[in-house]
């Protein structure tokens, strides 16, 4: 299984969030699940999700705007519909709590760049989508962007129990179905082979 874990490790290591995750302890994991679960259940009951615990509404809007550029919405859900922001907030409230301050400081620095480049604007969420894309292209090596990108991908595609991937939205994008019990044929080529064509 070497390549598998090597990939996962390389993806996670070297970023603050990934490093925090690798150092997290089982009790943090349990806490994160309990936290995420409350939000998920509220959403499923059709109630408004509980208020975010760490991010202010303005901070959440900025982070969600970045996440929505990483996985945009088209005819299938994007980061917004997958509730990635709840995953981010839940992580910063629990297992990644020690990353909270560096994360929020880096968001402030990122918004300072926004203000410098776009006089009259002070927050990423205030930019047009075209302006956002241009700025992110120029920020691909930026620590803040890499954190949000990593968290968006995890929040989009990890189990819903982590707070994102709402109702399997990320899995629908991939075409993955979490049924966990299957019978052959599994795909088109083995179906052909089974039919003898």
């Amino acid at each position: 299984m070497s390549d598998l874990s090597r990939r996962a490790f390389l993806a996670a290591a070297g970023t603050g969030i990934g490093a925090a995750w690798l150092a997290a302890r089982p009790e943090d994991v349990a806490g994160a699940h309990a936290h995420a679960d409350a939000a998920r259940r509220a959403s499923e009951r059709g109630e408004a999700p509980p208020p975010l615990e760490v991010l202010t509404p303005e901070q959440a809007a900025d982070v969600e705007a970045v996440a929505a550029q990483v996985i945009p919405t088209d005819d299938l859900p994007g980061a917004r519909e997958a509730h990635v922001i709840h995953y981010v907030d839940s992580s910063l409230a629990t297992w990644a709590a020690d990353q909270r301050q560096p994360f929020l400081e880096s968001l402030d620095r990122f918004n300072a760049t926004v203000a410098r480049r776009h006089p009259g604007r002070s927050r990423f969420a205030e930019l047009t989508s075209e302006q956002q894309v241009r700025l992110l292209r120029a920020s691909e090596r930026d620590w803040f962007f890499r954190q949000v990108r990593t968290m968006t991908v995890i929040g989009m595609f990890a189990n819903p129990s982590w707070g994102g991937n709402f109702e399997g939205a990320g899995w629908r994008v991939l075409g993955f179905e979490p049924r966990y019990v299957w019978q052959p044929p599994f795909g088109e080529y083995d179906a052909d082979a089974q039919r003898g064509s």
Binding site: S5, A8, V70, N159, D190
Partner: protein, 552 residues
């Protein structure tokens, strides 16, 4: 067969047992069952917790990024050097699983036998300068009955292929159903004149000895099987060992030293319980099955005035000759849907390149298999072509299009035994229990890298021959993480050049035996579990014989 179920043994504190087995994984689980069945009292001490099948989850983030049942940096930090004299840095260079059943619970379940030549390749091929390339003290023929025993006791699905070594019995179960990756692999391989075959897997394709067959959930590598279809020791030999009434498996029990008496014999082990309290467990003999990193580490931690360089280390070879096996993963994208994220990882493989060939200009051999690293989070982090964008609309479009149309062809190859590749104790870093951390030095031999590259090129040719719209391979093959932990207490007849004898008894301490990946003299072609378990069956038979004769 209905078995009279006896009460599971619970040994009293301080009660002497016949055998302490350190580790409950692929080899420890087998050892426990064989020794208990032979009539001895056996206490198995396992570092990790005990989870039952229904407790296993499909939570990828927890399993991989958290590695919650692995030797994480939080629990057991490691120091890594990329070759002698390199700058030491914190890095988990060897990965193993900490739970009852060990790696046998989590592995992909490829179950390849070694072939005759793996045991005497040094004689056939000749020496290789700067390496410890050596013949084994046993032959394939001596091990064959135990390969068969492992396949039948544990439950293996397969059918022999054209390059298989001789076998005394067929596989107990037919192969698992072929996936699209297997169909395409066959197509590509045949087009190149190669000989694909069903992959032998330690996953039962149908009901077997009270366990249901595979339900094709798609979560094998890195996950425990909630259906008990993966033939781990957790669901096979360990319950059988406990059913004898003579075996106790004690989880959360981390052995920190083998204790010796004034005659230089082992008198038991000291271990930490779940609350990190220390206990001494007396035993008539100790069998260490802790894996190729933890076994040498435990011997080195057990140093004393009588054994200043570590227990059973008169050769100086404890921890040396670490081998990871080579591994590289190539990727292909096809026109139609494979949905290869369903079912077991591997259904087809080939052994055409198994033997070393001097014409290649380097030593090495290997196998190739069709598989899919198709867990969602893993795919989105590494499954797209190297030039794909990493965010935005095109990123999403590619994820959506490729996920069900992608497969991998992985290559599995030899590692040469190099003395400087080794496990030591770090002089500074301590684990969560205060024990010296493992310090790993590892750098692939140039021939290992050449072999990986050679087969990766073949793998891409195969994907293209199968009709891939696009196929690619890695450029860098050097490994800094190992999951197959082999060779660190090698077996041999000469006490100066090996740590254990042909029966897995340490040359130095009469009542200490080692049996796991550390015993291997050569690495095989990339799937060592079958051989580790065959060795455990064989070793247990001899150890029981010695014990009955009073020769321990």
């Amino acid at each position: 067969m209905p078995q009279q179920r006896r009460r599971i043994a619970r040994f009293r504190a301080g009660q002497t047992v016949d055998f302490v087995v350190v580790g409950s994984g692929a080899s420890g689980g087998v050892m426990a069952k064989e020794l208990a069945t032979a009539g001895f009292t056996v206490l198995v001490l396992e570092q990790g917790p005990r989870l039952e099948a229904h407790e296993f989850e499909h939570d990828e983030f927890k399993a991989f990024d958290r590695g919650y049942l692995n030797n994480t940096a939080a629990l057991q930090p490691q120091v890594y050097l990329q070759g002698p004299g390199a700058r030491p840095r914190r890095h988990q260079a060897t990965v193993y699983h900490r739970l009852v059943g060990g790696g046998s619970v989590m592995f992909t379940s490829n179950y390849w036998r070694f072939k005759e030549l793996d045991f005497n390749e040094r004689s056939r091929h000749g020496s290789i300068g700067g390496t410890g390339f050596a013949d084994w003290p046993i032959t394939y023929a001596e091990l064959e009955p135990y390969y068969t025993k492992a396949e039948w006791e544990l439950g293996v699905s397969g059918v022999p292929g054209p390059f298989d070594p001789p076998r005394s019995r067929p596989y107990p179960l037919p192969p698992l159903p072929v996936k699209s990756s297997g169909v395409l692999f066959e197509r590509g391989a045949r087009a190149l004149g190669l000989h694909p075959q069903p992959a032998p897997m330690a996953i039962i394709s149908g009901p077997y000895r009270g366990r249901p067959g595979c339900q094709h959930c798609g979560y094998c590598a890195g996950f425990g099987c909630e259906h008990r279809a993966k033939s781990s020791t957790l669901v096979t030999t360990i319950p059988a060992a406990e059913a004898t009434g003579r075996c106790e498996v004690r989880p959360n029990s981390y052995v920190r030293a083998i204790e010796t008496d004034e005659r230089g014999r082992a008198r038991g082990v000291t271990y930490f319980d779940a609350a990190k309290a220390e206990h001494f467990q007396p035993a008539r003999a100790v069998v260490v099955c802790a894996n190729g990193c933890e076994t040498p580490r435990l011997l080195l931690l057990s140093r004393s005035s009588r054994f200043p360089d570590g227990l059973a280390n008169s050769s100086g070879l404890v921890g040396k000759y670490l081998m990871f096996n080579g591994n590289a993963s190539t990727t292909g994208v096809f026109e139609r849907q494979l949905n290869d994220w369903k079912s077991v990882m591997v259904t087809r493989m080939l052994w055409d390149f198994y033997d070393a060939d001097p014409a290649r200009g380097f030593y090495g051999g290997g196998g190739i298999d069709a598989r899919y690293w198709g867990y969602p989070l893993l795919f989105v982090q590494g499954g797209l072509p190297p030039d794909a964008p990493t965010w935005g609309a095109e990123f999403k479009r590619l994820l959506r299009h490729n996920y069900s149309r992608t497969m991998n062809v992985d290559v599995h190859t030899t590692s040469l035994a190099v003395e400087t590749n080794r496990v030591e104790l770090d002089p500074v870093v301590r684990d969560d229990w205060g024990l010296a951390a493992a310090r790993i030095t590892y750098s692939d031999h140039p021939d290992d890298v050449a072999m990986m590259r050679f087969l990766a090129v073949k793998a891409v040719e195969l994907l293209n021959a199968a009709g891939a719209r696009r196929a690619w391979r890695p450029d860098n093959f050097e490994q800094q993480v190992g999951f197959h932990l082999l060779g660190t207490c090698r077996m041999g007849n000469d006490p100066r050049t090996s740590v254990v004898d042909r029966f897995h008894r340490t040359h130095d301490v009469r009542n200490v035996f080692l049996c796991d990946g550390s015993s291997l003299v050569t690495s095989g072609r990339g799937q060592p579990t079958c051989t580790i378990q065959a060795l455990a069956y064989r070793a247990a038979e001899h150890i029981a014989r010695f014990a009955r004769r009073g020769e321990i």
